[in-house]
């Protein structure tokens, strides 16, 4: 058990340092954790993403708390949340003290210029894998294609309006829940 807490701490310490780019940035890391340790199922992970979206607070923090809780109870959630903010907060305090006026240097600009497409690719790989698993073939990467038609219909219903309007996580999740109940009972 101690070993699990320690692993949880080091993994979330790492996520705190390397998850760059807001909101869903922790997602690829959690997906990777799922494959590596089996602390939670993929289904649980998607449920956790949904809950983190509709509860107040930064999504990254919510995800850490929730995955920590699923893995190792209340103590687990404390450890994960503490670990994910630890190193960034030290760096932030240090930088706040150092710069009265923040000026990004050329190298930092260069790095971020490369990290943004990388962060986008990380998230895209998760998006595609989930799309395959839930809608297209029921496996991560498998052909031939055999659509899960119920899922496909709900997917299209949900994605079409949001290509025109602004992203609204709360509404999307609410509609998904209602749609799920209706489609599954038909």
């Amino acid at each position: 058990m101690i070993k699990l807490y320690f692993l949880l701490f080091t993994e979330f310490l790492k996520i705190g340092v390397f998850a760059l780019g807001g909101g869903y940035a922790t997602l690829p890391f959690l997906y990777y954790l799922q494959g590596q340790y089996n602390w939670f199922t993929l289904e649980e992970l998607t449920n956790m993403i949904a809950v983190s979206n509709i509860t107040p607070g930064p999504i990254g923090i919510n995800m850490a708390t929730y995955t920590g809780f699923t893995t190792a109870g209340i103590l687990g959630s404390l450890i994960a949340t503490f670990a994910i903010v630890l190193i960034p907060s030290i760096i932030v305090m240090f930088m706040t003290k150092l710069y009265s006026k923040f000026q990004s240097c050329k190298s930092v600009n260069d790095i971020f210029w490369g990290l943004r497409p990388a962060a986008c690719a990380l998230l895209a790989s998760i998006g595609l894998k989930l799309l395959f698993q839930n809608i297209i073939t029921e496996e991560e990467w498998a052909f031939p294609i055999h659509f899960n038609y119920q899922a496909l219909i709900l997917f299209l219903i949900l994605i079409i309006p949001f290509s025109f309007f602004k992203k609204n996580p709360l509404l999307t999740i609410l509609l998904g829940a209602i749609g799920g109940i209706i489609i599954k009972s038909i």
Binding site: V17, L20, G22, G23, Y24, Y32, E43, T46, N47, A50, V51, S52, N53, I54, T55, P56, G57, P58, I61, N62, S77, I84, V85, I87, P88, S89, V92, M93, T96, K101, F102, S104, S107, N109, D110, I111, F112, W113, G114, R116, P117, A118, A119, C120, A121, L122, L123, A124, G127, N134, W141, A151, F155, L158, K167, I173, L175, G176, A177, G180
Partner: protein, 182 residues
């Protein structure tokens, strides 16, 4: 000016409760409470701290809370801000997680979560579209994006490795680009 530990904690607690949906939502809240009401920092400082928070590792909303707290009252302020912004979501999640684990096996709840999982996929795809529009716009970024994506789909690469390698690649290619331009 009242900037005791408890006062800072209280303000960030209020912000934490109102924070729904990730990083960028926090800026108007900080402007209202920290700049206009409490005057702990100026608006210009907020803009600078926000720019800085985006360029540092960590969760953006948390970073900016810690840096504004630090500006207001040093380490104590940063601690108060961090606790204030973390505690409300922490308890929300614990309570919800407990409720959900009790009802998740009911058939209707299962069906609802089946639908919610599709919603999550939709949300992720929309986020990818937004990120793509903002960040994948030059030849270098196209190449980087597709190389990483293909690697990730075929091999079990750790995201940590991806981030480190692309940071190094970007740093080196930036140096080369400037050499060529000079």
């Amino acid at each position: 000016m009242n900037n005791s530990f408890f006062e800072i904690f209280k303000i960030f607690f209020i912000i934490g409760i109102q924070l729904l949906g990730g990083g960028y939502v926090i800026v108007p809240l900080l402007k209202k409470y920290i700049v206009d009401d409490k005057k702990w920092i100026s608006e210009e400082e907020l803009v600078n701290l926000y720019a800085m928070s985006q360029c540092l590792p960590g969760i953006i909303a948390c970073n900016i809370a810690i840096s504004t707290g630090y500006k207001a009252k040093g380490f104590i302020g940063a601690l108060a801000a961090a606790l204030g912004i973390i505690i409300p979501p922490f308890f929300c999640i614990i309570i919800l997680a407990n409720i959900l684990s009790g009802i998740v096996n009911i058939e209707t709840v299962k069906n609802a979560f089946w639908g919610i999982r599709i919603s999550v996929i939709v949300l992720i795809l929309i986020t990818i579209k937004d990120l793509w529009a903002k960040s994948v716009n030059s030849l270098f970024s196209y190449i980087l994006f597709f190389i990483i994506l293909i690697c990730l789909l075929v091999l079990p690469v750790s995201p940590t490795v991806v981030i480190i390698l692309s940071a190094i690649t970007a740093l080196i290619s930036g140096q080369i680009r400037r050499k060529i331009n000079d």
